[in-house]
Symmetry: D2
Subunit: 310 residues, 4 copies
């Protein structure tokens, strides 16, 4: 598994709970199977949208093992190991790698400001987890308040050979992808995979700028997979047609603080998970919001029918 | 002019510059005329997207006067007067009101945290500008980092009779609109107008939740006007059809840090302004970005043609 | 043990490491004995200055147990259980309470803004850890960016009977102590202990405003103990004389980002711990800084001699 | 006037108001005279502690002119021109330079994050105000949330010849001074003056690290002047003795959000200004706080008497 060549969609997996808050392993299995059926290349677990901070250490480990096993060797699993300190980061990283994870994802703590602070942090993280563990940089300024200049990302990639991928969710970010791919072109940076987050809100153009695909958890991963494929096949208009049909819902799901509730509601509606329960703190959907999602879902369905009839 | 009953679209006006950075009054006039022709109810000037901080005090005043005069009595103008201190806020507010502005808009400084700090700030602002000046609360946490609970907004509205409107751009914000309209329904809050920002990204549903329209500067204000009208006429599907056709471009224009360049490029493309120049600091569009906007523009045009043919 | 009546000094304990980063239990024991000999009433462990995030879960638990045992029943131990999520907070809280901890301390996550968000967070935390676990509110806006109005603290105290103490390190904070004690006087709030942090920088006056003592880790806890005693005995001038003699060093140790290195260096110098090593990330002292601390230490020693001679 | 060689104390001037909020020019004059009598080398006006944002543009200009005239050619005046945009920064900078200011001070806006963003900002600022205007970098992360690595400051100094001074108030900051002076020693950076802020809380050691003095507004500028002189004369112990005697009050005055009230109260007490009124928003001192300041003042007076008797 060479993650630097990863392409397609790594779905940010939800964590299915029973209504009473226990982890629902049956739904977890059906979710993994669903992601595979959608054509996902891999999965990313224990991210923010996987409610990672709401699991205790033991649950994090056992859930990771369970998912890695269900996914099997054909579907690589990346595990979020961001932590307030390196000790827990190390112990989780070593444990999940031993269990068969393909790599880990590390977000910068929100105290980092200068270029050198960010680079030093990733060096220390690699010291902690070991340089044999492939890792993904998560670049998500809106949530983490850490802004990584393209040249900072280049430094991390050049100085740390175990860096294999960038999860790109800067905003605006299209120029950043172009700049990074330009670094490759001018020989100043080796190639890593770039998968994009932000709920897929710019996936249509991100692919055109040089991204290899998506790493996000939109409730219709099949759409994400198809958009990436269409773009890679050069079918630009078709990619945008498909993407645009989903955009009203993508946008609705991308609301900070409300998105996960929408996503779980849709996954339940699609029969993927049994309950859309979140652990606290986690806002549910109001009746009005559910009706709005239903409305968007119906409009999407009509579009699909029209599309198939065409 | 009772702004508490304002409805429709108050366009956040751009500030047209010549390529060399001087204010372009000819383009300013054509822009005002364009907004009127689009069906805008009013205008809001000297906002962030109007590059207000890049104008010096004298320019701010003379531009305000020019626009207010061009807009005329049928098109109310709200002027952004947010300032690091109350002295400049007062002097700008008094000056533009004397020149015929319909009201002013005030954003909270990013140091405010507790509920009482926010309420006190607005009280002090009214002490400064005078309680005869109608004012708009700008609730935009993503940019200002100030989070106003619905009950804080209610306190401001109840305690300060000169508050006439909420510019709503919290995110997620649909429930907030419902909560505020619920306060009206239960008699705990008087009515004010709610116009929504965020580039219009949620306008389709905001109208359904009780908003009176939009206050944003999307390059196609005609669409915003029509969506609000369709929703007010109960034509839900038609509103969403129109909105969805624009959503790829709305979304593209809504990128933080890149949006204004897109907007001005489109306004120039539509012939509204002569140059898309911004004053520094202000990022322009790369060739790739321009091509992307052109592509979205063409797709939108094809949709319109299809729509008219249908 | 009724922590609502706690008084004196709860020392924020350091975590002693060997030079190679392993936890040094021998130094831990001598540190506990030292704190006791200094007259400390209790200890607080696994705080920021205890390098809590640099311990993995297993280390946190075993170190807590070790310290609680060494401290014995006469010296209550409060354990910091702040965590990104409630699941880990709960598991750590239950474990240390079973091991004999006197209570836990909870800091608010830096995403909280409105009054109700803060109150809700503490309610959910109590739901998670159980309402049989005495807890301390940590009010430290400079580090956590969460600002708690006095009335918010009152709401938490009134609505959550298991709240026993406020660790007060707002800045400026003297008026806050007066306001909270005023709430007690007017009957709107029950009594809880108020112990002050901020490295002790304002302890002289905090005692006069109604604080019960200090919760901080200054390398001379004996001074903190004596200042509190002198103030409680009404010997104001003597309290200030003693405090002022230490203030140059207190101030030096209170530098954000450098304080822990100073503190550990001084503790090593005083023979309390064997090494002043910190785990990464953690800045050491430059040669110049060490010389500065040595200089302040010598000046302090001269003062003590003069004081004793007088 | 070569500000790169500035040394001693540039007092951050308060802005004296009458009780009703009007600017008090008589007190302004006596304040300028007082600063001169204290031995201040220069003054800095329109800073945060000068309540700059509470003055309107006209007041800022007329007050600047008044103070510059009163100060006369022997006492250089630096004017704070930080503004949300370059247009107002330029107009204020040009106006005060024409009126005889020695230079201007520019703080970075709180949106800057990466190294290059900070450097670019200062380049654009110089483009705006003109490269003939000597400027001071204000490095104050606790207030502005912008962190400037030493190498970023070096880039600004090397690339912008009109940079003449650093107002240093990073925290912790002693190592930063050493690093910057090290850059000079190794030839990678030209010399500029370094004057320190933070209310003087670390002035004793800052001088030893290579700072040229202080730029702060502590109510006893005479002490700051003497500490700098003693340090420059190599009288280390005497410098610390004097500094330590004031430290309890320096520390009290340095409380964020309360400091200006303390400072103005002390200046009024010393007879320098007629009223300690602040414009809104600005917290006054409670009766308890006034009594605390009085107490510290008396203790300081006793120390001075003892010192003179010795």
């Amino acid at each position: 598994m060479d993650l630097t060549k990863a392409s397609g969609v790594y779905v940010i997996a939800a964590t299915p709970f029973h209504d009473d808050g226990r982890i629902d392993l049956t739904s977890t299995d059906s979710m993994v199977d669903f992601y595979r059926a959608c054509g996902a290349t891999g999965m990313t677990i224990l991210g923010v949208m996987g409610e990672a901070p709401k699991l205790d250490q033991e649950e994090s480990v056992s859930l990771s093992k369970h998912i890695i096993k269900r996914a099997g060797p054909s579907m690589p699993v990346i595990v979020g190991v961001s932590a307030p300190g390196f000790a827990n980061m190390r112990s989780l990283a070593r444990t999940v790698m031993d269990a068969g994870a393909a790599g880990v994802m590390i977000a910068p703590p929100n105290t980092l400001r200068t270029d050198d602070q960010i680079i030093t942090y990733y060096k220390q993280a690699v010291d902690a987890i070991g340089d044999d563990v492939p890792f993904v940089i998560q670049d998500f300024p809106i949530t983490f308040t850490v802004v990584m200049a393209p040249k900072v990302i280049r430094s991390i990639i050049q100085e740390l050979p175990s860096c294999v991928m960038l999860k790109h969710e800067d905003w605006p970010g299209l120029e950043k992808i172009s700049t990074l791919r330009g670094f490759e072109a001018d020989g100043s940076m080796r190639h890593v995979s770039i998968l994009c987050g932000n709920g897929g809100l710019f996936l249509d153009f991100e692919c055109e700028r040089g991204a290899d695909g998506a790493m996000t958890g939109y409730a219709f991963p099949d759409m994400l997979v198809d958009v990436v494929k269409l773009q890679q096949a050069g079918k630009r208009d078709a990619a945008h047609d498909l993407f645009d049909a989903h955009l009203p819902l993508v946008r609705y799901e991308q609301q900070p603080g409300a998105g996960l509730a929408v996503r779980k509601y849709l996954m339940k509606k699609r029969g993927v998970i049994a309950s859309d329960a979140q652990r606290k703190p986690g806002a549910g959907l109001s009746a009005k919001a559910r009706a709005e999602v239903d409305y968007l879902f119906e409009r999407l369905a009509r579009h699909d029918i029209r599309a198939k009839a065409a």
